[in-house]
Structures are given as structure tokens and as C-alpha cells.
């Protein structure tokens, strides 16, 4: 777009007099040069023992170099630098895509092996070799995440309401700042906190799903606060003022006017915060641990969770190694599916429940 706009005066300048005849490389020529560079890279790679990695590396370097040199010769230094940066920036984006593509491909290809009915209906109770499944872990993850959500959402939402509707002065500043700082607490530290809290209260051997839920809440609350705060700020002040003008008390205004207006954004933010914690492993590893059977009571005893299940299946395989690895990768696949599903739900919420007024 912008290149076209800027090229217009350049092409018209020769007509104005003997300034300088501007020569330009067409887009086609540039692509040709780049591809020629890649072909040369492939040849070079073939000469030193062919591999895809070296082809890509040599090719991109040579292609970039070809474009740079050609532009420098034809159009001068400034334009050449511009093209060089374009190549570099585009390559940076492509480089970032490699791990994502590779990761998704690996998890799909290795995880589909055990992506069957048994995996979702059986636990690991009395399973030592092949077979078995992650029913207990999936249920455990859902229960613990649900409890964490039940703890975090009221606290987070009320804090966001305080910050937007009531807060003022130093308390508001302090809360905003420390909520931001809390976003960066390492997950394992949250786990240690839950462990220390519950061992002080109930003794050293206490283990329950609620410990994991508390640890996840520490990670989740700041995310809920931040996203809800952003959304509540977007509610137009005119709506609040109209409500006050009708003599509605402030709390009714918040409940009946502000929150319904912002419900789409709140739903999206909360869903994304659930997605943020559902894959957390470390805090659950050191608080909730792992069992092979199904435990539906989050207030008593260890529970299995999907990330911890996957971790132990991978790192501590029993005699039938391949069966354990297959289960680990399928658990990873299911975990990614959960997170992606939550992301999609979040997008749907923001689209379906978007306020009719405004924008």
C-alpha cells in the first residue's frame, strides 16, 4: 500500500527535468532474486550434505543478501536498507512460526495414538502397562479449576469494581500496582504458598484439591482483576449518570447498569483467565500430587490433574514405556484442546454478548 503511494512522485520526477532517472526494481524481480538466493542456498546445502534446516538458513540468508545487493546497486543505500529490514522483520515472524507449527504437529502426531474412548472413560486405577486412561485426571483438572474459578471470580470482580467505581487515592494506586506485580508471581511460588498455608493450618501430611485451587487462585485473581478493570472502564459514564439522575443508588447502578453493559467483556476476560491456569503444572505438582484412582472430593486427599498426569507419564514410565509415552502425549493434546476451546469460547462470548449500544 504505502510503497505504491510513495512511488508515485518518484515515477513522475523524470518528467520534470534532468534531475535523475529513477530506476526501480519491480516486485516480481525482487521475488525472483529472493527465490534465486534460496535455490542457491539449497545447492550449497546439498553440497555439504542436504538437510532442511541448512537449506532454510542458507536460503534465507542468501535471498536476503541478493535482494539487498541488487537494490543497493539499482536504487541506492536508503532503499536497500529498507528492503533489508523488510526481509529481516518478515524472517523474524517466520522464525516464530516454526516452533508453533512444529509443536502443534508433534503433539498431534504423537497424541492421536491414544486419543480414543478408553482415554476419556478409564482411570489409571490398577493399570501398570498398556490401556488405562486419564478420566480421573480430566475430572480432577475440571474440579480444581472450577474451585479456583469460584474463589477468584468474586474477589477479582469486586476488586475491579472497587478500582473503577469506588477507589481513590493511595489504596487504589497500591492495589493497581500490586495486582500488576502479582501477575508476575512464578507459578511454583504460588504452589509453595498454598503448601505453607495449609501445612500451617492442618499439619504436614494434609493433601487436598483445595490446596491446588488456592494456588491457582493466586495466579488467577490478578488476571481477572486486570481484564475486568479494563472492561468496566469502557462502560460510558453517561449510563452511570443517567442512572444516578433517576435516583438509583450507586450499588444498584453498578449491578443493573454497569455490569450488564460490560457482561461480554467480563465473560471473555474470565474465560481467558481460566485458560491461563488450566494448564498450570508446577503448583499442582507440589500441592495436590497424583493418584491413580478417581477422587471427586476436593477437600480431602490427593487428586489427579491432567498436566501432572502428563508429566509423570512422561518422566516416570513404567515397564511398558511406549504406553506411558502415548498417554503422556495424548494428555498434552487434550490439554491444548482445552486451552484452545476456552480461547474460542472467549471470542464467541465477546461476539455474541457484545452490547447493543455504543460503538
Amino acid at each position: 500500500m504505502s510503497t505504491d503511494i510513495r512511488s508515485a512522485p518518484e515515477t513522475s520526477s523524470p518528467a520534470q527535468g534532468p534531475v535523475r532517472v529513477e530506476r526501480r526494481l519491480s516486485r516480481l524481480a525482487l521475488w525472483g532474486l529472493y527465490l534465486a538466493g534460496i535455490a542457491l542456498g539449497a545447492a550449497l546445502s546439498a553440497a555439504t550434505g542436504f538437510s532442511i534446516t541448512s537449506t532454510a538458513v542458507y536460503g534465507v540468508v542468501l535471498g536476503t543478501l541478493a535482494v539487498y545487493v541488487a537494490t543497493r546497486v539499482v536504487q541506492g543505500r536508503r532503499k536497500a536498507t529498507d528492503r533489508l529490514v523488510t526481509c529481516l522483520v518478515t524472517s523474524a515472524f517466520a522464525v516464530a512460526m516454526i516452533p508453533l507449527a512444529s509443536l502443534v504437529y508433534t503433539v498431534l502426531s504423537k497424541g492421536l495414538a491414544r486419543f480414543d474412548g478408553d482415554f476419556f472413560s478409564m482411570s489409571m486405577f490398577r493399570v501398570v502397562g498398556e490401556g488405562g486412561g486419564a478420566y480421573h485426571a480430566i475430572v480432577g483438572t475440571l474440579i480444581i479449576t472450577l474451585v479456583a474459578t469460584v474463589i477468584s471470580v468474586p474477589i477479582g470482580l469486586f476488586t475491579a469494581i472497587y478500582l473503577v467505581e469506588y477507589g481513590s487515592g493511595r489504596l487504589k494506586k497500591a492495589i493497581t500496582f500490586f495486582v500488576d506485580v502479582m501477575t508476575g508471581i512464578p507459578s511454583i511460588v504460588a504452589g509453595l504458598f498454598a503448601y505453607a498455608l495449609f501445612t500451617l493450618l492442618f499439619g504436614n501430611d494434609f493433601r487436598a484439591g483445595i490446596m491446588g485451587a488456592v494456588a491457582l487462585s493466586v495466579l488467577m485473581i490478578p488476571v481477572v482483576v486486570r481484564s475486568c478493570e479494563e472492561v468496566l472502564k469502557l462502560v460510558p459514564n453517561e449510563l452511570r449518570e443517567a442512572s444516578y439522575a433517576l435516583g438509583i443508588p450507586k450499588w444498584r447502578t453498578v449491578v443493573k447498569v454497569v455490569l450488564p453493559t460490560a457482561v461480554a467483556g467480563l465473560g471473555t476476560g474470565i474465560t481467558l483467565s481460566v485458560a491461563r491456569v488450566i494448564g498450570e503444572t508446577a503448583p499442582l505438582l507440589i500441592t495436590v500430587g497424583l493418584i491413580t484412582g478417581t477422587n471427586l472430593n476436593p477437600f480431602d486427599g490427593r487428586m489427579a490433574t491432567l498436566p501432572v498426569f502428563a508429566y509423570y507419564q512422561l518422566t516416570q514410565p513404567g515397564t511398558a514405556t511406549q504406553a506411558f509415552l502415548d498417554r503422556a502425549w495424548t494428555a498434552a493434546l487434550v490439554l491444548i484442546i482445552f486451552v484452545m476451546a476456552l480461547n474460542i469460547v472467549a471470542r464467541l462470548i465477546s461476539r455474541l454478548f457484545a452490547p447493543k449500544t455504543g460503538r
Binding site: 472497587y162 487504589k172 492495589i175 511454583i188
Partner: protein, 317 residues
């Protein structure tokens, strides 16, 4: 007179009357705000209270037998080393990505591309660990050998090369992928907020696109990039599962990235040792967690301070 008096009195009366509903609601809102501060204080307090036995114990009783400093020291080195590799690799890439999405990509697909990068942040860390162990580590073994052969004069690549690729170098690269979306998200935001007038003025004066970015966008977005990098650093410092799965470390405090004698990191050491730890071992691990908490707290506070300082004078708020 009466006409002016009448409206002024009722409001003052109304202001005095506070309905119980209002009082309860604002009270609940304020309480949960204060509760969050208490939680943060509680995290510090409980960690300290559980770490005290390790701090006061005699050095023979600490795992390793040489005292707390000798136990945590190598772990701090490992933690900083891995996070620094990640930062050095990820920051330029993330800036490139942010520039691509904001100023180079075709307008129609730019937001979709941004969403794809954000997906990197959605993938659970344990899955990154799986991927690093199964895919990246074997792929990097040839590079480890090459580096040991040709670059061994640099202390970072002293070798001998690991044959499994489960080294600090691999860990650093995986961490780099994990913090890419954080840095690029914040960079993208500040880059897109660069004043349109400055950008258009630069283009109108005949600047190429890169010159426009250099003159109008980068100076404006610099502090945002720094803040994003700090937040990414905080994440990399505290990352647990990916490190725990990939790294097969020794206990030495070396900066040698490509051999199997790398120190572990604080977080992964806790994850690996905690399930089996008893007695003073637990306290020692919690003490190391306290150190990690303080390091990340400092990094995040600096990052937030930079972000907030920028927000004060950015016009966007």
C-alpha cells in the same frame, strides 16, 4: 430565594443518607481489594515462616552439607543464565514480530497474525517441556557438537558437548519461545500507538518505511519494549516445568551452556525435589522459593514502574 433554596437542600440531605445496600456493596468491593494486598503479603509471610528453619539450621543439615548459600548459589546462576539466554534470543525476534504485525503485514490479516502469536502464550508450559525434550533437544545435538569443536574458546561453549541436547542452551531457547508472545504483545501495543502525525510527517518528507520506523516508532516504543522484556524476564525466571523436563543438569555453577554439567534452576529444582522432600529439605526448598520470589518481584516491580512512568505521559490514557 425559595426557588434557589429548595434544590440545594435535598441533595445535602441525600448525601448524608447512605443506604445499607450501598454500604455493604462498597464495603465488599474495598474488602476484596484489601484482601488481594493481604494475599501478596501472605505469600511473603508464609514463605518466610516456612523458610526460617532452613535459615537458622546448621550448614551440615542442609541438603548437600555445605550450607544454604552453597545450595542455592548454583541454582541462582542457573536461573539467571537460562533467563538471560531467553531474553537475548527473544527480544530482537519479538521486536521484529511486533513491527511485522503492526507495520509490514497486509492490513487485512494483521490482527489474525497477532492472534496466532498470542496462541504461543496459550500453550501450557508442560507441553513446551514435552516438545523441547522430544523435538528441539535432538535437533540441537549437531549444533552442540559443532559449537564444542569450533567455539570452545568461548567459556559459554567450553564443552564437552552433551549427546542428548538436554542442556541449558536448549532450555534457554525453549524459554525464548515461551516469552516471545509476552514481549511481542506489549511491543505491538506501543508500536501501534506511535503518533500517526509523526509517522505521516516522516513519510511525507520522503522517508522510507524503515526510516519512518527508526525515527517515529522506535523512540516512542522504546520503554514499552524494555518493559515487555522485563516482564518476559520475570516469566523466564519463574518458569518451572519446561526446565524440569528438559534439563539434565549437574550441580556445578558453570556458565558452560552445552555440557551436561549445567546448574539447574530454582523453580525446576523445587518441582523435582519437592514431592520426595521431608523435614528440613522442605524448608530448604521453600527458602530457595523465597529467593526466586524476591528476584521476580524486583524484576516485575521495575518493569511495572517503567510501564507506569510511560503511561503517565503517553497521551493514550
Amino acid at each position: 430565594m425559595t426557588a434557589t433554596k429548595a434544590p440545594t437542600e435535598p441533595p445535602s440531605q441525600q448525601r448524608v443518607v447512605r443506604r445499607p445496600g450501598d454500604r455493604i456493596f462498597s464495603g465488599a468491593a474495598r474488602t476484596s481489594g484489601i484482601f488481594i494486598l493481604l494475599v501478596l503479603a501472605g505469600v511473603a509471610a508464609f514463605l518466610i515462616s516456612e523458610a526460617i528453619p532452613a535459615l537458622t539450621a546448621s550448614s551440615e543439615d542442609i541438603p548437600g552439607g555445605e550450607g544454604l548459600a552453597a545450595y542455592i548459589g548454583p541454582l541462582i546462576v542457573g536461573t539467571l543464565l537460562g533467563a538471560l539466554i531467553a531474553l537475548v534470543v527473544a527480544t530482537p525476534l519479538a521486536v521484529g514480530i511486533a513491527l511485522y504485525v503492526t507495520y509490514y503485514a497486509p492490513r487485512r490479516i494483521a490482527s489474525a497474525l497477532g492472534y496466532v502469536i498470542d496462541l504461543l502464550a496459550a500453550i501450557p508450559s508442560v507441553v513446551y517441556g514435552f516438545w523441547g525434550l522430544a523435538v528441539l533437544a535432538p535437533k540441537l545435538v549437531p549444533f552442540h557438537e559443532w559449537a564444542a569443536d569450533h567455539l570452545s574458546w568461548i567459556p559459554l561453549f567450553a564443552g564437552p558437548a552433551s549427546t542428548s541436547g538436554r542442556t541449558m542452551l536448549t532450555v534457554g531457547l525453549v524459554l525464548a519461545v515461551m516469552i516471545l508472545p509476552i514481549i511481542s504483545a506489549i511491543s505491538r501495543e506501543v508500536f501501534s500507538q506511535a503518533p500517526a502525525l509523526h509517522r505521516e510527517a516522516a513519510l511525507a518528507l520522503g522517508a522510507t518505511r524503515w526510516e519512518m520506523i527508526k525515527m517515529a516508532v522506535l523512540p516512542y516504543g522504546k520503554s514499552g519494549v524494555i518493559a515487555g522484556a522485563m516482564l518476559g524476564l520475570g516469566r523466564a525466571l519463574g518458569e518451572t516445568m519446561a526446565v524440569a523436563i528438559i534439563l539434565s543438569g549437574g550441580g556445578a555453577a558453570t556458565v558452560n551452556l552445552i555440557s551436561n554439567s549445567n546448574p539447574s534452576t530454582i523453580a525446576s529444582n523445587i518441582a523435582l525435589k519437592f514431592p520426595e522432600a521431608t523435614g528440613l529439605g522442605v524448608n530448604t526448598l521453600i527458602a530457595s522459593g523465597l529467593v526466586l520470589f524476591l528476584i521476580t518481584l524486583a524484576v516485575n516491580m521495575i518493569a511495572r514502574w517503567i510501564v507506569n512512568r510511560r503511561a503517565d505521559f503517553s497521551g493514550a490514557n
